[in-house]
């Protein structure tokens, strides 16, 4: 049981990490890209998610 928990935790940390909102936003952006094939969507979504995440973290820690 302990090994299963460690395994799940490893993948959670690997994929989701400190900010689950970024991972959730990425999932939405990937789905929209799959549906529309728009090339600009993923770079723009990544830039916005990154900006929102670091600004939120800076406000909570500083």
């Amino acid at each position: 049981m302990r090994y299963i928990r460690s395994f799940v935790l490893f993948w959670w940390n690997f994929i989701v990490g400190d900010d689950w909102r970024v991972a959730a936003g990425l999932a939405v952006a990937l789905g929209l890209t799959w549906a529309t094939h728009a090339w600009w969507l993923l770079p723009l979504a990544v830039a916005l998610l990154l900006a929102e995440s670091v600004v939120r973290e800076s406000r909570s820690s500083g």
């Binding site: 690997f14 994929i15 989701v16 990490g17 400190d18 900010d19 970024v22 991972a23 990425l26 990937l30 890209t33 799959w34 094939h37 728009a38 090339w39 993923l42 770079p43 990544v46 830039a47 998610l49 990154l50 900006a51 995440s53 670091v54 600004v55 973290e57 800076s58 820690s61 500083g62």
Partner: protein, 251 residues
């Protein structure tokens, strides 16, 4: 051509950063408790990591290329964004910088306070700490080597770049006989974060059916765009932190 150069650079620097962290753990344990059991732990971890690359690399070639690129791109994107996010927060002063000297002192103190074994006996503490340290740091390198190598069809190049980084870091570590505090680890993580995330965007997009303007050259545009966004965010956050700091703290 340009994507092969970027593949080599990304794998090399990502591996170098992880190798520096693994070296710190191995040095701290080896110096305090002896080298035989420590190096056995390093060797065992290297065998496990090599086996993962050897098993997963060919297995991933069986997956259709678009599916592979989408899954690998999505994973790289999630993974790379975490590196980049932390690098921006560190560079702008909202997170403490990673300090190899402090990490070395912590590991050395822990190794010194653990119970000792009689001379000549195998030291399981040293073996376990070295094995775990190298395996955990190496898993991220393995992930990058396998995903980059399989998606680009250049597993040998990716593995070679990782091996070159590990050999270089080990050689410098042996030469200076201490943790590599002067390696600009935080800057390297920033660069690697930009590169991993850019490749993630490119491959996930291709796998999802996107036709990039300029084909493979689009990767350079993505790297430039993401680097510009990351630098702008870092500068803005840094200025904001300085402006919000009390006058005494700014002096």
């Amino acid at each position: 051509m340009s994507s092969n150069v970027l593949l080599f650079v990304t794998t090399f620097f990502a591996s170098a950063v992880e190798a520096v962290e693994a070296l710190t753990i191995v040095l701290a344990v080896g110096v305090v408790r002896g080298w035989r059991s420590t190096l056995t732990g390093v060797g065992a971890a290297a065998v496990v990591l090599g086996a993962i690359v050897a098993a997963l690399g060919p297995a991933l070639r069986l997956i259709p290329i678009d599916t592979l690129r989408f899954v690998v791109g999505a994973l790289l994107l999630a993974f790379g964004l975490q590196w980049l996010r932390k690098a921006i927060l560190r560079a702008s002063g909202y997170k403490p910088l990673h300090d190899e000297g402090a990490a070395f002192a912590r590991e050395r103190d822990a190794a010194g306070s653990a119970s000792r074994v009689a001379a000549g006996q195998f030291d399981w503490y040293s073996f376990t700490v070295a094995f775990k340290g190298v395996l955990l740091e190496g898993l991220e390198v393995t992930f990058i080597v396998v995903t980059f190598g399989s998606t680009q069809g250049r597993l040998g190049l990716a593995a070679g770049a990782a091996a070159a980084a590990v050999v270089l870091v080990t050689a410098v570590g042996v030469a200076v006989r201490g943790p590599l505090e002067r390696v600009p680890e935080n800057s390297l993580k920033f660069v690697v974060g930009v590169l991993l995330t850019s490749f993630g965007i490119f491959w996930a997009g291709e796998g999802a059916g996107v036709h990039w303007p300029g084909s493979d050259l689009a990767i350079l545009g993505i790297v430039g765009f993401l680097a510009a966004v990351s630098f702008a965010l870092t500068r803005w956050l840094h200025r904001r932190r300085v402006a919000l700091a009390p006058a005494g703290a700014r002096a």
